[in-house]
Amino acid sequence: MPFFISSQIVLGLACVFLRGLPASQRAAGLRFLAVLGGVSSVVLFLTRDVGSSWSTMEFAPERSGLVAVATFCSWLLVIATSDGAGARWDLGALVSAAATALAVLASSRWVVPVLLFWIALSAASLVSSWKVSGAHLALVTALADACFIVGLTGHAVATESWDLPAGLAGEWSYPLIAAIVLRAGVIPMTGLGGILGRPEGATAPLLVGSAFAVTPIVSSGDGIAVALPLLLLAAGAVAWCLVTDKPVLSVLAVWPVAAMLAIVWIDRAALGKGAATAAIAVALLSLWPFASGRAQSERGLILAALPATIGFGAIVAGAGASFDRAIGATSVVAAAPWDAFAALLPVVLAGGVALAATIGKRVELEDFRPEGVLATWALAAAAVATGLSPGPGLGFGSGTGSQNRAVWLFAIAILVGVAATRLAPKGIVPLTSPRLAPSPGVIDLAPGVSKLIARVSAGVFALGAGVVGWLTYQGLSVGFL
């Protein structure tokens, strides 16, 4: 991880130096640096189970995997959405800053660095998106940040400790839960949805990853009271998209993110799988308008969390955890929410499959960039590779039986599936009129409201920075260290 953090910082600085170059060199330079960013993420993923610690950071395999996948997705979005003039060179610098922030906050054991880098990630995302579509993101990010600062600072002051809590319950957990839910982007038609489908969406996987990274602070694996409403929200998003037949990105994103967050809330071991699935899904949705009319069945396959993608490993983990809790409960009342979760999970999976099939067979206007299509395929490959990856935290290591045999079975099934697509007779897909790729679908905000949001969110960030400074001073003066 130290190598990864250093490499991201260097890449960010290099992106800043691109500014003065001619347009064509800037564009080529940005793509080259983005490829290097992706490569450093792959290296982090492959070395995630080395396990080490550095300063106040501890690099658990599932955390490293989470950071690697989210960063890979973000750099892929930079490559796919950058134009021929390299006009958004700043996106490269901001993605590297956000990736560094995610890496530190996902690994830190102390409250102050986590707060500091949580705010830094918010700032990087907002700076990247403010000019175009930032009001929605600013609104939800400011709320999430306020909740996060209140919760974590309140706990630190109450306990007079800088140690990051784990499985926190009680009054300080509520604002933290609210912060995670808001940050993850599970509120439809606002928040994260505002930047999807645009170049600024490059920071979306990192924002989602950051929400997942801090769930262990408040979740000890038995948070059914949070998990069940989240799963219901996912089911609602699927149902809404199926019924209206007019999917929009901000609602579609709710489905995989809320479902994965629900699973992570009841099974801490699924953190890596759930976060990786959510990050890949959000990146895929953000890429959709750049790959309109192409790679549709791949898109559906990943969004539905079908075998052998990483999402399926998370579904299996969630089903196993809820089933075990349901049969282990001592009374009908105690078992009821776990039963409901276990029953709702196949419904969400099947609803997702139906929705994914409608996405997969959409007749769309072919308005795509080759980079967008290639990036979609790369995400599909990443979803399968992480799903089949051996090692802890990610892949089919837990839940789907004997790992080696399962990996072989899934690998053979993929090969047969690919061969079948070449050999099988063509089916007749029902024809519909061509459609445009989905829009973000966020609520329109009046200019006055956007200005107000800008001021409030700036105030929240200033306040947040002040609180972190105050907490640092308090800690040093009282002697938390």
């Binding site: 037949d245 089903a319 196949p346 099947a350 399962a406």
Partner: protein, 204 residues
């Protein structure tokens, strides 16, 4: 292949993996269907998954190996008491069968290869239902004589073939009707799964 790998015991794992395999098939079938039949097909696979879950809940085990093992010792899920539990399992099995009928009826094949492939899919889904609810291996295959093993395997294959053909025949009849007609058996099967789960939970 994924579902078959787990059902035939090449890979040990949970029944959820089989549901995942069925979901993958549903995705492929859904690509050939319009919106309403796709949604109905999705509902059907959710009900099959839920029903298999009720069967697993009866033995308090998600693992396919455990489900086979416990039935090898005590008998098929459907036939082992107490009565209320057996009834609950029976209702869930019936719901799974009904959902299987609906799942199979769209898209109904039109070519010889299509019939063959639908037969394979029907057999696979039937195998999943039979494995959870009516695994006829009385004492496992190990240690038995050749005749006994052959008889058990034949009985097993016959049960799967019977369920698959019955579901296929009903699916053929249902495929002649409009898509809306399929909502009725799906709703009935959904109610069956909920009833089975409630009955099972109250009994244990």
């Amino acid at each position: 292949m994924i579902a078959l790998g787990y059902l035939l015991g090449f890979v040990e794992g949970p029944v959820v993996a089989v549901v995942g395999g069925l979901a993958l098939i549903t995705y492929g079938r859904g690509l050939l269907l319009e919106r309403l039949p796709t949604a109905i097909s999705g509902a059907a696979v959710a009900i099959i998954g839920g029903a298999l879950g009720v069967g697993a809940l009866r033995w308090e085990a998600l693992d396919l190996g455990e489900l086979r093992g416990v039935q090898a010792v005590l008998g098929p899920t459907l036939l082992v008491g107490p009565t209320q539990v057996a009834i609950a399992a029976g209702i869930a099995a019936g719901a799974a069968f009904l959902a299987l009928v609906v799942w199979l009826c769209a898209p109904w094949p039109t070519t010889r290869a299509g019939y063959l492939w639908t037969g394979v899919e029907a057999g696979l889904a039937a195998l999943a239902v039979v494995t959870v609810f009516f695994d006829p291996a009385e004492s496992g295959l190990g240690g038995s004589g050749a005749g006994s093993v052959t008889a058990q395997l034949l009985r097993w294959a016959a049960t799967v073939a019977l369920v698959a053909s019955a579901a296929g025949a009903l699916a053929w009849l249902l495929s002649k009707r409009r898509a809306l007609w399929r909502v009725i058996p799906v709703a009935a099967a959904g109610a069956g799964v909920v009833a089975g789960a409630a009955l099972l939970t109250s009994a244990t």
